[in-house]
Amino acid sequence: MANKIPRVPVREQDPAIRATNFSEVCLGYNLEEATLEASRCLNCKKPRCIDACPVNIQIPQFIEAMKVGDIAKAADIIAQDSSLPSICGRVCPQESQCEGSCILGIKGESVAIGKLERFVGDWHLNNHSEITIPTKNGKKVAIVGSGPAGLACASDLAKMGYQVTVFEALHEVGGVLVYGIPEFRLPKKDVVAREIESIRRLGVEFETDVIVGRTVTIDSLMEDEGFDAVFIGSGAGLPRFMGIEGENLNGVLSANEFLTRANLMHAYDELYDTPIYVGKRVVVVGGGNVAMDAVRTAKRLGAQATIVYRRSEVELPARIEEVHHAKQEGIEFKMLTNPTRILGDDKGWVKGINCVKMELGEPDASGRRSPIEVTDSDFEIECDVVIMALGTSPNPLIASTTEALETSRRGCIITDDNGQTSRKGVFAGGDTVTGAATVILAMGAGRKAAKAIDKYLTEL
């Protein structure tokens, strides 16, 4: 009985050592470990994992291929549904998706689907076969944004023969994979850059430093530059703040700013010019993956680092693995705590944060129990940096410069199920449509839109 084997533990950097470096925390399986872990899969008749995967990867099938050592076949099976396995294997919240529904997880431990996917993805990056560049069909598609949605859309369209140009506002390609998710969770050179390189080899062109809505517009791309269709995958880049007193003090910053300085601008590396200020004690407000990324980055830069979150630990929206890793690394978690005011010194720098204790009441619209303030529970946490990780919303730049492009009240671009917007020939997907979500959902939306664009341009 294959399922008698316990889940194969994955090798990780020692917490004490990794809390001082930016190298990847999780080292992943080797072939032997991966094959052993694959052997645990029951290959269920009615696999629940497939339905729980946002893009319905044929999970038991790729694991079956791994059992007999046919990694190339496993890679092909995954590729039918996912274009970024080495990335999703690392950043997907597996515990609430595939692994969360694994039968083995009911009485014991689920199959480590994420780690297996990562193994296959990495193997593919190292052993990819010759890519045949498809013959061009003469039609041009512009992709706005080079994050997961844009990359997936570009890659599929290029394979169908379209001439694809990806426009990126920043100086580096990758979107949130580059500016948001830290090196210790998603290596840039070994994983992200190589995934992008494989898309480049399909003939996709990348133009950085082009801000759609400023440098060019959706209309100028279609009218002046001859693009037959446009896909908008510009993400959700605008940081939210709490609107509490003291938020503009020196030392208060968005997680986006902190992480962009560290990740995109390499501020942690002395050879790079961009400064970063981490202080002695950092408080990160929020409980999502971005909050975990920020707090663990602060720790690695030498600060004492604390998470402040208004609900309890079970409600933390971050991946369980990230919370676990953060705790191992010595991050302090202050749950059921909500900031009310940031305190400044006479020079306008942060000296502390005033908080109140919370308790959980009735479930709210999101189904989570809503936090209620405990009266007279004010207390102060001394700190010199406060990082706000409260979520992000779509950048209004494109919507505000594109006539007749409909958006919701929350600023999200409105599309049908296939990514078609209110404008003919203009498609959208990912966080700019859904609001901040996951890499895999954005990737899935990009692929769906690629199909819709192909249909649109074929029938045109």
Binding site: A169, L170, H171, Y179, T208, D209, V210, I211, R214, T215, V216, G237, L238, P239, F241, G243, E247, N248, N250, G251, L253, S254, N256, E257, T260, R261, M265, H266, L271, Y272, D273, T274, P275, I276, Y277, K347, G348, N395, P396, L397
Partner: protein, 294 residues
């Protein structure tokens, strides 16, 4: 990579760099800025656009060498390349979208201080191209630090110079000159646009207020991406938090919390000063400050 077409010294430590950037040149409007990254390890530095030509595809910027990054920018000569130039960013000046006839009735006074003279130039030039008159005050510490006076003369209705030491033009601050123009020279204005150091803009705003003169300032906040993503450029405008990069850079001067804006500009000063000291030591060698070399 963006090719540098030309570099000129305008005053001590102040350089004008012209780059080949056809997309930016085509899209640029008065009031907008660009982000420049000198090399692969460089910082993203926001700089106002000093001039542009859509047909020839170039953009110029004026940079005062103050820290590691601005020094890297001014060090690049014609034929060399910047790693990146992105833009145009920010909202164009409001007048760009206002009816020309209305603008023709408006009496503009631009107050430019130091390198802030450079971003004033495309605004006055645009107005001139649309037959709209504008007076301009350029201020500097001393005669040698004045920039863009010739260019400005060609587009301004009247150009007034102020130097702190009186080495050219009016002897004193731009605020005193503005006050003199209004009270003693009988000049009447309906719109003041002030661009320069934050402290100058604060005082021009106070002067304008005395005469109930509507005033616009262009803020030079710290930024990383310049597209609304990081929020480093937060400023308080009429008590509300705004992002300089996407909501500005130009704001109604009366709404700006200048003291907060100045304080926030200093957020990374110590880190930057340390970086500059390290860079200096690398090129000039270490000088011991505690006497160990004696």
């Amino acid at each position: 990579m963006v090719e540098i077409l030309d570099r000129q010294l305008l005053a001590e430590g102040i350089w004008q760099t012209k780059v080949l950037a056809p997309r930016i040149a085509k899209a640029a409007k008065p009031g907008q800025f660009i982000i420049v990254r000198a090399d692969e390890k460089g910082e993203r530095i926001p700089l106002t656009i000093a001039d542009y030509d859509a047909n020839e595809g170039w953009v110029t910027m004026v940079t005062q060498a103050l820290g590691v990054s601005t020094r890297k920018i001014v060090a690049k000569v014609a034929g060399e390349h910047f790693a990146d130039v992105a833009g145009p960013l920010g909202r164009p000046s409001d007048f760009v979208t206002e009816p020309i006839e209305e603008l023709k009735r408006r009496r503009f006074i631009f107050v430019a201080g130091g390198v802030g003279t450079a971003p004033v130039y495309p605004q006055v030039k645009w107005l001139k191209e649309h037959d709209i008159e504008a007076d301009v005050i350029i201020g500097a510490k001393t005669k040698d630090m004045l920039i863009y006076t010739e260019q400005m003369k060609a587009v301004a209705a009247n150009l007034y110079i102020a130097t702190d030491d009186g080495s050219e033009g009016f002897h004193g601050l731009v605020t005193s000159l503005l006050e003199e123009l209004i009270t003693e020279k009988g000049k009447q204005y309906d719109c003041c646009v002030a661009i320069g150091p934050m402290i100058m803009m604060k005082f021009v705003t106070m002067t304008a207020k005395k005469f109930n003169l509507p005033c616009i300032v262009s803020l030079n906040a710290l930024m990383v991406d310049g597209t609304g993503m990081c929020g480093a450029c937060r400023v308080s405008i009429a008590g509300k938090t705004k992002f300089t990069c996407v909501d500005g850079p130009e704001f109604n001067a009366y709404d700006v919390d200048f003291d907060e804006a100045m304080r926030r500009q200093g957020m990374y000063r110590t880190v930057e000063q340390r970086a500059l000291a390290i860079a200096k030591e690398r090129t000039e060698g270490h000088k011991c400050n505690i006497g160990l070399d004696k």
